[in-house]
């Protein structure tokens, strides 16, 4: 049995009076690609935002239940100051910024920050206090190579990141997400704004990356989940319909009939 990287237990999330996640529980194992599929409004993006605590920025969001990363409840991060003062064992993450660096996130639409390509990738290392030029250079090159972008931009690292094409910007976003050496990488429908060829290149990158890190892939393309993932979770209206290995989910006889219909495009 592989180790659990993330444990989600009875997670509920509501925006004001509207509950979007109705108490879901699942585990994500280390070094797997974990796909989340489901129609729009089923709570996929909200789930990711809970994991790296960017849900904090949504004013009316209320979360209950637990999400543990490496055994530490991420919802309790930042409240541990007095415990540390009392000499308790230092927790895995001492603040949410550390958590967000450990749980990277790639948004659906590419966001090139209005900085140079170099600064885009060096942004997160700098934010965490790294200043030595040589270290930054090394990180920038490594991440751009990992994101399959290095060869296209190595000549113009100091031109604007926002001037790149959509597909390049998405790979830049991935490079930026890798720049803080995450242990979990969440990709939220990363392929909706880019062409199939680039998508395939990034998928190859992901296959390569799973040797080192855990990947959570939210996608609308069931075929993408089939190609990449080890296990797939079908989320519908804020509840888990089915969660199983790909062999079961994409077989002719998954446990739930809805899964079969969704995966094969009969409903959804």
């Amino acid at each position: 049995m592989p180790d659990e990287k993330i444990e989600v237990r009875n997670l509920k999330l509501s925006y004001g009076p509207r509950e979007v996640l109705h108490g879901i529980s699942f585990d994500v194992y280390e070094n797997e690609i974990f796909a989340v599929i489901g129609p729009a409004q089923s709570g996929k993006t909200s789930l990711l935002r809970c994991m790296n605590r960017t849900i904090d920025f949504v004013a009316n969001a209320r979360v209950s239940g637990t999400i543990k990363v490496d055994g530490q409840n991420v919802r309790k991060i930042g409240h541990s100051f007095f415990k540390r003062l009392a000499g308790k064992r230092p927790p895995r993450f001492s603040d949410v910024f550390e958590l967000r660096r450990a749980v990277g996130m790639v948004a659906p639409l590419p966001v090139g920050l209005p900085l140079s390509i170099y600064d885009n990738v060096a942004f997160a290392p700098r934010a965490s206090g790294l200043t030595r030029r040589a270290d930054l250079d090394a990180i920038v090159e490594k991440c751009l190579r990992q994101a399959a972008l290095w060869d296209e931009v190595k000549e113009r690292l100091h031109s604007l990141g926002t001037k790149l094409s959509g597909g390049q910007q998405q790979r830049l976003t991935i490079a930026r997400a890798l720049s803080h050496q995450p242990e979990v990488l969440c990709l939220d429908e990363f392929s909706i704004a880019i062409d199939p060829v680039t998508t395939m290149r990034i998928e190859d990158v992901l296959k390569e990356l799973r040797k080192e890190i855990t990947i959570i892939l939210v996608t609308n393309l069931t075929q993408q989940a089939r190609r990449l993932a080890d296990r797939t979770m079908f989320l519908w209206n804020g509840e888990i319909v089915e969660l199983d290995s790909n062999e079961v989910i994409f077989s002719d006889s998954p446990k739930d009939r809805k899964t079969y219909e969704y995966v094969n495009g009969i409903f959804g």
């Binding site: 790296n52 960017t54 920025f57 004013a59 910024f97 550390e98 958590l99 967000r100 660096r101 990277g104 996130m105 948004a107 639409l109 966001v111 090139g112 920050l113 209005p114 900085l115 942004f123 997160a124 934010a127 965490s128 604007l160 926002t162 976003t173 930026r176 997400a177 720049s179 803080h180």
Partner: protein, 305 residues
Amino acid sequence: MVTNENSPDQARFTKTRFGRRTELTERIAKTVFFLMSVAMIVPLVAIISYLVIRAWPSLSLEFVLDVPRKGMTQGGIWPAFVGTVYLVFISLAVSAPIGVMAAVYLNEYAKDNWLNRTINLAVINLAGVPSIVHALFGLGAFVYAARFGYSILSASLTLAIMTLPVIIASTREALASVPMSFREACWNVGATRWQTIRSIVLPNSISGILTGVILQVSRAAGETAPIMFTGAVFFKSIERGDLFAYNLNEQCMALSMHLYTVTTQVPKVEESIPYATAVVLLGSVLVVNATAIAFRVWLRARKKW
């Protein structure tokens, strides 16, 4: 034989009655809106040309640099000009930092709770308070309560209070124009709010922020009531061309106030002097605004998305 008019392709592009009507409406609408925008220029050109023509006999650099002579019936406007520069500069030096920082808090940090809603409401209402009310407040707060007396300091602070809410509003607008996705991208890689603000939000909204601040120059320079109650005087004797003539705790002359006094309070003023004063006031405000616009164009050209 198919004639040209009856060919199917031609028929598809022949105008229907509805098509002709929409085209007519479109033309009328365009013409009306165009005329309105032209009409807006007319009063501006009329005012400026009338002022310049009437002011012509007095207009010269000498008029700006000289002090008023013979009971203000002749001479120049130097003390008033310098006074206005002082008032505008000091008031903005106070209100711009406070306003910008307050706006950053309200736009970037504040959660939607009763305290911040109250602050928002206060800002909006403060922006709508008439200047004469600000004048009374300044008189009570700065001249008497804070014991600054009738002085440049009191007048500047009153002007600062008056321009503050507008600076907050314009700065918030500039900050809000930076796309939310930039902030989220920064938060997702573990940047704190301040790191995000410093490296992404402020560099990309600085043109809007500065424009908002600079446009307040014209407002601070033009107001008469707040400074009349708190620090501007009828006449003050200073050296011709002396830029450092005033102390903070002294009273000063100001262009707007001077315009009012030479127009209504002083008998037998040389006819062109009030007009020339108005031209100098208007001219300096327009110069500042033009600088603001040029600056904005320059920063826009460097905008990065």
